[in-house]
Every structure is written in structure tokens, then in C-alpha cells.
Symmetry: D4
Subunit: 219 residues, 8 copies
């Protein structure tokens, strides 16, 4: 009884409550999943380590666990149509992959089509240009980057979609655990960029899904 | 010849280059407007003080100037259809109005319909709840708030649209010129919130417009 | 002889000295407890890990240890009447529980009645509203929240009691270990909110108890 | 129509909405005062400069203005009994007076008795000890201090009342506009101290008044 | 006699001492210029406002003053051959021009050829690419940029010269007076970038000149 | 009656209370001087601008005012013997002079002999070495430096006296108003360096005088 | 050959070089000790863990190791007379002891008499007052304190000696690893306080010893 | 397929892509090395721990691993002439060696001659002066220093080459993990200093090599 999930959220916002494992014991995660499970939404546990995942599987044995993404996905009890549209998830470097996979995993759980475009950082700007050309038929671009975090700025000058920028904590020294990338993205002079928290692949997915739903998608 | 505008931007991204007056002399602003003026896009000068506005009017006499918003708008030479859809711009308090008006002014220049919902900060949470009920038929919510910056979080738990959060520099002491509001918005546990720079009403408008265009709007 | 407790404190302030285990060896904790034990006040050790607790039990075998709260309580040698009044301890999310339990445990050691109201964060604002309605017959509200830390602001706009806000280090990225929540609470535009240190459930309990004692309670 | 005051607040929290002049034009302040004026609560405008005060007096000629405190007070239309109890407002140095006067002025507007104890900073700790002896018959202590901000800590070790600490921006260099004092107060190892924003005399007054009201005062 | 210039510097490092006007009275600047003037090096005063410049001209009437760059140049008494080689000075936006001109002015005083390439920020990345193509016959690239400060990173991935990055204080909000650009440049994952202080066009010029002199230039 | 000076301080610590003008009105400064004046200690007002000085002279016409140092000195009513010993005050650059003069002025008011050694910053390290050789017969070294603040570190490796380091706010960009110099001095690996607040020439003087008095000086 | 000790330091400053173990391998520490050992000064290794100490004992078997202080002391080859005078080392709380012992251990190695006064923090200000009375016959006071770090300020208002303030990293939350205590000490309005780095007991000892030597001690 | 190296970089900039192990699995590192190996450039892996090195050796058995420097070097498939010129790598203390070795190892992989000059920090400024005299026949100076980070400033006042400054995270307390050294280097008033990220020996090497190549070296 440590956990009182927000059961009214799907009705208000069209999204289920999502369990953040950080600061919760495995048992509390399992309790939360048990309370949310079985409805018309998938149940997600973010920032889950192996112990959290094991405890959840004690309650729902077929829960999916992506260790790199630290994401547990419990499919919806009754399957609904996915949200129509495609989200591109682009990363600056290989080290940004776990965050990109958290984002992609959350989108996938809601039936959104994802296109991964990895390792297209602006140091090799021709890769960035090439990547931008492959994005024209997507609806939203999530741009994930650490260190100096320039990828969203350059992409937003090349494409016309909304760009959701995700700074990552990849880097050292004056990167300050993602702060350098965060400030870059907030100070961006390219229009169309908005920003979520450092390493918040989950948040970017939820923003992207809300954008898709403005198009009249079922969600 | 201090200014080399990015003339290819409309074709790539569907948006004109926009002039940031900060750090520019009035003459440089006027030069930039002269170079951009006359095409199929409006020309905008943000962060313009009265001197900047006067210099621009020396070049384009019918330019509009909203002093509170510090925004100059030069209508497009040939008018295009506006971007269909409605953006709600909500503020926490009266002090946030200049930023909200910059946002609304930019959206208006692109033919986007705007609904202003002012002074609905969460301290009087019943106003926030009432405001949320009036937003259901809008497509995007821009939530503008200073001091502790909680408005976007509470709204995002009540509505299903994307919420673009704009921290403002309203406040004192531990508000640190908008930093408290910025961190609040980035750390928000409500899904669907993304953030732009402190006081960046312009940026929020451009994000909102890109979101509307994912719906197939002309824009 | 590393430890010189402040034996005059109960007389001056009506509170015993409390042992902070951080930076002390288990032996130093035990030495301090031995020096303080047996009087008319309970002895408390905060931030105690299992080794500290074991060492204290070597001195006072019936000392209580709440591992989640990291709190050791040694009941008073001669029991006094508790402080009359009720303190509500509300949390934003499950991850804030350890701090809330430290607060509740300290209050309990002084005979104060506590009402726990967990997981009522503002993302599900209807839970917050429901919670506020249950608080009307309490005397002080302690509001514990991490991430963006909005709970105290919203509660203070709904109730008339003093609200003691406790930011927690729950969160990641731009939460900066509790700084985002701390700044939110300090910048709050709701009247009646005062703030203690990050994760300082103990401090909030002592403030709440002093408030109760202004009512003429025995304490 | 830029201003939508929270008229329900007195009923919910027992306090009127208060106008923060920062970021508002004089006209907006006057509009807000006009909307709030005439009820059973005083109307307050904080952070008001001379222009704000003049505009308010255009609406309510007998409004009081304390320039040092930057506070406008419009007495309640129908006078209510004040909140019973006494609040001590102590300052570390002379430079902290404007903040202390804002606090005292707000308390006075609600009919709370105030005792000012100025210039009792801990460098001359015997003054602090002497001051503490004069506080025993007050109910709440507000301790206002800039630079290193130690006054609340020392007082809280000497008295048994709740101590509301107000850091001020008095100081230079590593005081960082009040941050040094703020961190001192938050890190205080004296129990019973809670903290409001830098220079927030108003906030301290509202906390003190809520504490008094837990005693069953009319307020 | 407030000023004791470092007369041995030319012999040790091949550079004259340079006068920083900030914190000096006009008279002190003039005294310093009088002490340094007449040798085989030009005399420079940086960060000079109009009063500083006037005082220097009282001593050396033909001193040059660039108000935008805030730079006074007193030509060398006996002219030496300039340092051979070409330095490109590129800016992200028009607002970065004053810093770029300080850099160019200092280089010009030492007889170094400068190529200005303005307004080539990465939001219009095709301008950046075009600019990079024009830089191939230069020896050093100074890249000046404010806001998010991405220009040096992208250029360093396109050219093979050393890139000296100069963050500027152009921007607002989370730009933090040049800090965002500074962190971007320090965290850059493009090789060959080194960084000088915010707005330090002078420093970049001196680094560029030392690099040219490794080529055996007279300097 | 805003001011309650600490009259017991001379007896406890051998130093008079000193008036900090910042945040005080001219009238409050004059009131404080009037209360302290006429004893066996000089009266000092630091951070005084011309208005403060004029008000003090209204009370004590022969008060001394050094505008650069912003220091008012009122000689002691009955002259005591000065503190024996010599303090060297060394500065890195000309811009550090106002802080050095505040230090020297305070020492002079107590009859301490001062040797000023200006403009010996480590960029011209031979000047620093030469300066160090002239310091051997002094008792304490105060080293004042802005920008990167290296002077105290180098001096402390060359001399055997205590080095009191004073960071100044001279500089720009990443100097952060004296923070860079402050951190340099605190992180110094040269033994014998201790640090006072940014621009705190007064504080350094008081530390130096206390050091001299350990030698048995009358002071 | 990774290590090149500064053998000239004793002659210039009267102090030996001291080895900082942080970032050195045990072998490098031993190499440094071997190079410095055998002269007329003790050899010290600070921040040494057990491995460092063991490696040093491989070279000098009778080296002393205080694990709490993390200090290795190798007595001087030929014993010199100690520095005359007494240094008081006072701590705010028990958690500050390791830093105080590093300070005392270094002083002891140089033959300075030390008086430890522990656990006299200002929350129990009567202990502080009592402690101050016992300090009158010492020459220098080192005041060590974490959390809010007020001890040096209060002591400096009670005694006439130089007070060397050492902030410690004891604390949590807004203590920020010693930053709160550091800022308190730098912003102190008590005269005679100077500050060394966080946890730098070694540095405080070296400052205290230099102060003693101004008295003409042998050293 | 997580990794898409930038194969065009050698042609554009004359440098191969380099693998940053942080945030990559050993398998991803090995995949990247396999993709880059065999051409005319060496392959480098920086920040590699033993597991990364082992995985790389599974692909290229004769790869070199320097554990202190955390650097893997895979020699070029076909050997090219090295870059002519000499780079001096100077360190302030022994703790800075790992960063200096990363720098030297990278330069060596490109056939650049390196001269190591260790432990010449400015506390023993005569060592610094002696070191400066040995640097006259080098072409670039890399100066590596932690704690207060003064070495580059002093060296740049003594030599005429470009000085590439590398702050290290060696230190504690107010060193803030290298921030103190970083700010010192950025604020340096010595001309000719430019700065790379904290602990970025790799970056300094790449800057130094680009500088050498401006001399017409083969590279
Ligand atoms: N990775 C995440 N980052 C940010 N917010 C999250 C994340 N995962 C879940 N949340 C939100 O944070 C809240 C967690 O609160 P609780 O589980 O009650 O502690 C949920 O309501 C989610 O909407
Ligand atoms: N704009 C500038 N930025 C950084 N350093 C400068 C600048 N102008 C001059 N300097 C250096 O700073 C020192 C100024 O010190 P001073 O003039 O003695 O206060 C000179 O030796 C110059 O090398
Ligand atoms: N969890 C806690 N948070 C804040 N202060 C505390 C806590 N526990 C104990 N204290 C106070 O901090 C002081 C501990 O310092 P000491 O035990 O002397 O090192 C005591 O006097 C308590 O009043
Ligand atoms: N605990 C300490 N804190 C600060 N500085 C120290 C400490 N221990 C030694 N030092 C100084 O730092 C320098 C260490 O540099 P190194 O051993 O060459 O890396 C020595 O010259 C000492 O003077
Ligand atoms: Mg890559
Ligand atoms: Mg309002
Ligand atoms: Mg929850
Ligand atoms: Mg005073
Ligand atoms: Mg431009
Ligand atoms: Mg100079
Ligand atoms: Mg204690
Ligand atoms: Mg060394």
C-alpha cells in the first residue's frame, strides 16, 4: 500500500501512468504493475534494473525487459490499434544508444512505428546531411546527443518536422553529466526544437506520441 | 554587408529566417529586414527595442511593433493561407504576459489562431482546472510560467495535447532569472511536456507551428 | 571522548540533541547514545546504516531501527506526555517514502500523531485535491516531493495550515539531486510554504513539532 | 483584463491574493487592486516602486506606502479582528532592515503584533544572547540575515519557538546575492529552522501568520 | 606610478604587453601607453571605451580606435615585417561581430592577413559548408559564436587547420552570458578545437599569431 | 535607532566594530559613526560612496575619504601606538588597485606600516621574482589578484611569510566576477595561503593585523 | 622518475615539499618519500590510504600512519627544535574530526603544540562560549566545521587571534559537499577569519605554522 | 550495426575517426575498430578499460594498451611518414601523468616526437623556469595541470610557442573536479594560451598535431 497509481490518467490524457523504478524497491514496482495491469494500456517500468524486472515478472511472467534501455514493457490486456505515424530517433554517437532505445521501446509499446538513425553526429556533417534526407517521410524527429549536443540544432535547420531534443549524460569534464548538451539544445538558434530532461528517452517518446495524436490518430 | 541571411531556409524547413535584434545595431536590423522582405513569408524581428523598430520602419513603413512583446512583424509580400489549427497560450501570472505575447504575435504572423488564457497559475488550482476544461478543442498548449514554473506540469496531467513549456525570468532570489522554472519544467514527471529557453516565446511559437504542420496544414 | 553532546539543549529549546550518523564511526554513535540515554527525552540517530544501528543496540538493546528511514529511536527513560496535535506527511511519489518515514519516525518518537498521505503528486492533480480534503483536521502539513517538487505549492493553495516543504533527491538529470525541487519550493508563489534541506525529513519533523508547541502543547 | 485574481483563495486558505508588482505595469497593479479591494481582507502590493504606489493610490487614495519595504497596504473594507499572537522579527545587520520591514508591514496589515529586534548578528554574540532572552514571550521568530546568514542557527539553539529564516541579498563576492546565506540556513544543524526565498519578507510573514493560526486564532 | 608594464615580454615571448582598459582609469591607460610606446611593437588597448581612447590620444594623437571592437591600436614606432600567413575569422551571427573585429584588429596590428567570413552559423548548414570551402588556403581558423556555439565543432569536422573557438556572450536565458557556448566548445567531439575565454577576441588573435609563428614567420 | 553597534568588541577582540555602507542609507552610516566615534579606536566605513562620505563628514568633519578605495577613516579620539610590523600588499595588475588601497587604508588607520608592490602578475614572472626578493623583511604578505588569480600561489612558493590571498572581481567571461580567482586561491598547492572574500581588502587587513598581534604587538 | 620533488623549497620557504597521495600510485608515493627522506625536515604524505602507507613503509619502516587523518609522517632524519607557540584546533561536530586530525598531525610533525577542542558547534552556543574562554593562551585558532560552517564566525567575534577556517564536506543536500560551509566562511562578517580549501586540514596547519614563525620562532 | 564510423574524415581533415570507449560496450568498441582498421591511419580507442582493450585485441591481436593512459593504439596498416616537429608535454604534478600520457600516446601514434617534462608546477617556480629553458627548440607546448592549474599561464609568459592548456581533475574541494583549473586557464592573462576539456589529453594532442601541420608537415 505504498503505491497509489493515478488510475484516472488514461481518461484525462490518453496515457497510462508509468512506473519510475528509481527509488522504488523491486516489491514496490511489482505492486504498482499489479495495480495497473490488465487494462487497455500497456504497463511500462522505466529505469528498471535486473532486480526490478525480475520482481515484475513474478507478477506478469511475459513482461519484456530491454536491459540496455532499462525498460520493462507489459503488453496491454486487450490490444488497441497503435498510434499512426512514424517517429525518427536519431543519435549523435553510439554511447547515446541506451537513451534512444528507451525512447524507441516506449513508442513501440504504443504501436508507433520507429525509424532508428544512429551515429550521425555533426562532426561528420555529411552523415548528418545524409541522415536528414532519409527523414522526410517521418512525422516527428527525436534527436538524442551527448557531449556538446549539437545534433538537434543542425537537424532542425534541415527538416521541417518538430524536433524533440534529448541531451544525454555521455561525456566528461565540462560536459557536466549532460548539462553542456542541455544548454546547447535550449540555446539553439534553430526553430522547431524543444527539449526534455537529460537521458529522458521516455519523456521524448511521450511528447512525440502526443504530437502524432494531434493528427487525429487513435492513440 | 554584416548580414548574410539564410535564404534557403523556407525551402528546407518551411520557415523564414528571423532576425534577433539583441547584439545588432538598428542599422543592421534594417539591413537584414531589407534583405528578407518581399517574399512569401512574413519577416520578424524579435527582442526589438524602440530604436530597432524605428530603423525597420525606415525600410518597411507599415511594419507592426508590439512594444511589450518587443516584436516587429512585417507581413508577407504575397499572403499565403495560414497554418490551420489552434494554439492555446496559457500564463501563470500577469508578469508572464510579455513572453506570451511574443509567442502569440509570432503565431499570428503565420496565420495561426491563438487562444490566450492568462493568470491561471497553480496556486489557485481551481483556475487551472477551469482553464484546462476550456482547452479541449485546441491542438497545442503553450504554457508560460515564471517563479517556480509549475503550470505546464499540472496542465499536462489534465489535457492530452503536447504541452510546450516556456520558463520566464519573472521572480527573484532562488528563481535565479528563470532557472528555477526551467529546472521544474525539465524535471516534470507529467508526460507530454517539452521545454524551450527561458523567455523564449518565439521558440515556443515555432515548435507549436511545426506540430500543427504534422497535421498536413499548409503553413 | 570524541563526542561532547549539548546536554543543555532540552532546557533551552525543549528538544534533545540528536545524533547524525554521517561521518561518525559506529563506535562514536554508540558513545553519543550512551551519553544522551536515560533522560526524559528519546534519543535519535539519523542517517544510520545497519552498522551504526548494531553498535547502538550494543549499548541500548531495545533501540528501534527503521532501515528505510535510516532512523534509530531509543525511547525516553521516563515517558512524558506526547506533543498534542496531528501532522500530515504527504508525498509526491513512492520514491519519496524513505524521507517521509524519517519525518514520521521522529515525530512518533516525540508522541506526535502522524497521518501519512502518499503518492499524491500533482501530475494526477485529482489525487492531490482529494488528499487536500482529508487534511482539514490536521495542524501542520509536511509535503515531501522530488523531481520538480510541486506538491507543496499546490497543497498550500488548498489548505490553511503551515506547509513545511521537503525536497528529495529523487529524480535524475536536471533534478540535480534535489536542487530542482528545492528551487521550486523556495520560489513558490503560494503563501505559507517554508523549506528545509534536501532529504531532511528529520528537520521537517522538528519544525512541525515546534509549530505544534506554539499551541501550548506539553511537548 | 490582463489580470484574473484568485477570488476563492480567502475561503480556501484564509488569505487574500497578494499582488507582486515585479513585471507588472503600474496600470496592471492598479487594475488588480481595484479587483481585490473592498472585501474583508487587506490588499497588499509587494515589491512596489513609487510609480506602482502612485497608480494604486489613483484607485484607493488612502493606501499606505512604505518605500524602504516597497510595500503598499490597502486596509480591509470591513475590519476583522487581528490574528492573536506576537511575532519577533530579528535582523543580523542594518542592511537587512528593508526585508524585515516588508515582513513586519505584512504582519501588521493582518493585525499581528510584531516585535522588531535589529542588528543582533552573531559576530557580537552577546547581543544575540541578549536578544534571545527578550524573545521568550513571542510565538514565532523570523530571523533575517544576509552575508553568511548565521543568525537563525544561533537563535534556534537558544529559543524553543519555530524560527522562520529569511536570507537577504546583502553582501558581496561569495555571498552571491544571498545564496551563501540561503545555503547556511538550509544546512543549519539547529532544529526548528525552516527557510523562505532570498529577500522574501512577505513569505516569512505569511508562514508566521499560518503558524499563529494553528493556535486557534481568528485571523 | 600605478602601472609597471612588463618590458621584458617582447624578448621572452615575441609579443608586447597589452593594456586591458577594464578596471583602469583613462589616466592609467594613457600612462601605460606612454610607457610602452615608441618601440618596435604596436601598443594595444583592449576593452577601451571612448574615454579611454580619448586619454590615449592625448598621449599619442594618431592612435586608432574601433568603437565596436573597443580596441585602440598605436602603430609600432619602427615598422617590422608582419607575420606571414592568413587567419580566417568566422562568425555564427551578426551579433558576434564586435568580438570578431577585436580579433581581426589585433591581428592586423601585427601585420597578419585576415579573412572575415560572417554569419555562417550552423542553422543554415549549407552556408557553413560553403564557408568551409573558402577556408582551404588559410592557415588558422578562428570561429566566433554565441548562443549554443556550434560553429567551431562543425567547421573542425570540415577543415584540417587548427580551430580556435571563441564563445560570445550573445544570447539570453540558458545561454548564461556565454557559458552555454563555452561548454559546447569545450565538450566538442571534433578534433582540433581549442578554446579561449568568453568574448576574448584578443586572446584568439594571440593564439593564432603564435601558431603562424611556428611556421617560421618573422612576427 | 536602526543601528546597534557592538560596543563590546574592542574588549573581546581588540578591534572596533566597522561600518559596512552597502545597504545602509547615508543617514544610517552617520548614525553608526556618531555612536562609535570618540573612543580609543579609529572608526572605519567601508564600501562608502560619495554620499555616505558626505553624511559622515556632517558628523565628523575631519573624516578622511579615499574614493578609489571607497573607505572613510575617522582617526581615533585618543591616539594609541600602532601595531608594530610591516605588511606587504602586492597586486597582480593595475585593475586590482582599489582593493589593495582599501587594504592599505585600513592597515594605515591602525598604525601598521604598509609596503605596496603593484603590477607584479605572474605573466611577467621575472617581475614576480623581483618583487619576492623585496619582501623578505616584511611580516605578512597580502596578495591581491583578479582574472586567474595566480599571484598568491607563486609568491607563497618564494617567501616564508603567511600569504593572505584576496581575489578581485577584475576580469570578464569565465572569471565570473572573481570566482575563477577565488577557486585558484583555494585550490592552491602552495602552502601558507589562506583566502578572504572577493574584493575584501578590508578583511585581508584585519587578518594581517591579527597575525602581527600574535607577535606581541600593542595594536 | 615520474616524480621531481622541489628540493629547494625548505631554503626558500622553510617548509619541505609534501606528497599528496591522491592520483599517485603507492609506488610513486614511495619513490617521492625516498627522494625527500633523510634531511632536516619531516616527510609527510597526505590523503594516503592503507596501500600508500604500506608502500611508504617499504621504504621507511618506522613511518607513522593515522588512518582517520589519512596522514603518513616520516620523522626528520636529524631532529630540529619545534616551532614555538600553540595552535588550537576546534571542531563543530564529531564528523569534522578526520580533518582536524590531519591538521593536528601535520602541526605535530613540525613540533608545534596543539590543543584540540572538539564538538563545540554554535547550535549549543554555550559550549562555543566556554570553548572560547579556554583559547586565550593559544596563538592561532584553526576552526573546522561542516554543514553550515558557522563556528569560525562566532569564534572570531570572541577571541583576538587569527582564525583559520576550514570548511568540511560533512553534511548533505544543500551543503553541496562543503560549499555551504565554504561560502559561510568567506562571507563572514567577523574580522580576522581567512579560509582554506574544503577538508584541507593540511593547508590550515601550514598557514598556522607560518603565522607562528612571524613571531621569530625557529621553525 | 550500432556503429557507423565517419570514413570520410581522413580525406576532409587529415585525421581518422577515434573511438571513445565511455558508454560503449567492449563489443561495440571491437566492432568500431574492425570497421576502421587496415587503412593508412592508426586506430585509437580512448578511455578504454581493460575489458575494452581485451575485446579490441580479439580483433587486432597486436594492439597496444597503456593502462594508465587508458589508450589503445592499433598501428596503421601501411605506415606513413610521421608529422615533423616536436611537442613538449609538461605537467604540474605527478597526479597529472595519466592525462599527459594519453596526450603523448596519441601524438606518438601519429609519429610526432614528444618531450615529457613532468612535475614542474609553479609552487616550485624555479623548476618551472628551468623547464621553460629546455623548451625553446620545441614547436608546441601542451601544459597539463590540476588543482589551481597555473602552469600554462606561467609558461606562456616565458616561451613564444602556442600553449595548449589541459586542466585535470586532480584535486579536491574547491577544485570541483577540474573546474578551478579550467577557469584559471580560460581567465589567463598570458597571451598564447588556448584550452581543451578537463582531462582531455587526446584533444590537446589533436590540436598540437594540427598546429604542426600548418608548418607544411606531411601528417
Ligand atoms: N523515466 C521517467 N522520467 C520521468 N518521469 C517518469 C519516468 N518514468 C515515469 N515517470 C513519471 O513519473 C511518475 C512517477 O511517479 P511515482 O511512480 O509515483 O514515483 C509517473 O506518474 C510517470 O508519469
Ligand atoms: N582583452 C584582454 N583579455 C585578456 N587578457 C588581456 C586583454 N587585454 C590585455 N590582456 C592581458 O592582461 C594583462 C593586463 O594586466 P594589467 O594591464 O597589468 O592589469 C596584460 O599583460 C595582457 O597580456
Ligand atoms: N538528519 C539530520 N539533519 C540535520 N541535522 C541533524 C540531523 N541529525 C542530527 N542533526 C543535528 O546536527 C547536529 C549533529 O552534529 P554532531 O553530532 O555534533 O556532529 C546535532 O546537534 C543535531 O541537532
Ligand atoms: N592535502 C593537500 N592539500 C593541498 N595541497 C597539498 C596537499 N598535500 C600536498 N600538497 C601540495 O601539493 C603539491 C603536490 O604536488 P605533486 O605531489 O607534485 O602532485 C605539493 O607541492 C604540496 O605542497
Ligand atoms: Mg560515432
Ligand atoms: Mg495572478
Ligand atoms: Mg506515483
Ligand atoms: Mg551591525
Ligand atoms: Mg544570421
Ligand atoms: Mg600589468
Ligand atoms: Mg555535536
Ligand atoms: Mg610535485
Amino acid at each position: 500500500d505504498d503505491v497509489w497509481p493515478d488510475h484516472g490518467r488514461p481518461e484525462r490524457t490518453g496515457e497510462p501512468e508509468v512506473v519510475l523504478a528509481t527509488g522504488k524497491t523491486p516489491a514496490q514496482c511489482a505492486e504498482a504493475v499489479a495495480a495497473l495491469h490488465g487494462g487497455s494500456s500497456p504497463v511500462l517500468v522505466t529505469r528498471a534494473d535486473a532486480e526490478h524486472a525480475a520482481a515484475v515478472r513474478g507478477v506478469v511472467p511475459d513482461a519484456d525487459y530491454d536491459e540496455a534501455a532499462r525498460l520493462v514493457v507489459v503488453p496491454a490486456g486487450e490490444q488497441r490499434a497503435g498510434t499512426p505515424g512514424t517517429v525518427a530517433v536519431a543519435t549523435g554517437g553510439t554511447g547515446d544508444l541506451p537513451v534512444a532505445r528507451e525512447c524507441a521501446g516506449v513508442l513501440g509499446a504504443f504501436g508507433v512505428e520507429v525509424r532508428m538513425v544512429t551515429d550521425v553526429g555533426v562532426t561528420g556533417v555529411h552523415r548528418t546531411l545524409a541522415a536528414a534526407r532519409t527523414l522526410t517521410d517521418t512525422d516527428v524527429v527525436v534527436a538524442v546527443a551527448g557531449m556538446e549536443g549539437t545534433l538537434p540544432t543542425v537537424l532542425a535547420g534541415l527538416v521541417s518536422q518538430p524536433v524533440v531534443a534529448v541531451p544525454t549524460s555521455v561525456g566528461y569534464g565540462a560536459s557536466f553529466g549532460g548539462v553542456a548538451a542541455l544548454l546547447t539544445m535550449l540555446s539553439s538558434c534553430a526553430p522547431g526544437v524543444s527539449v526534455v530532461n537529460i537521458d529522458n528517452g521516455f519523456g521524448a517518446a511521450m511528447v512525440a506520441r502526443r504530437i502524432l495524436r494531434t493528427r487525429g490518430g487513435a492513440g
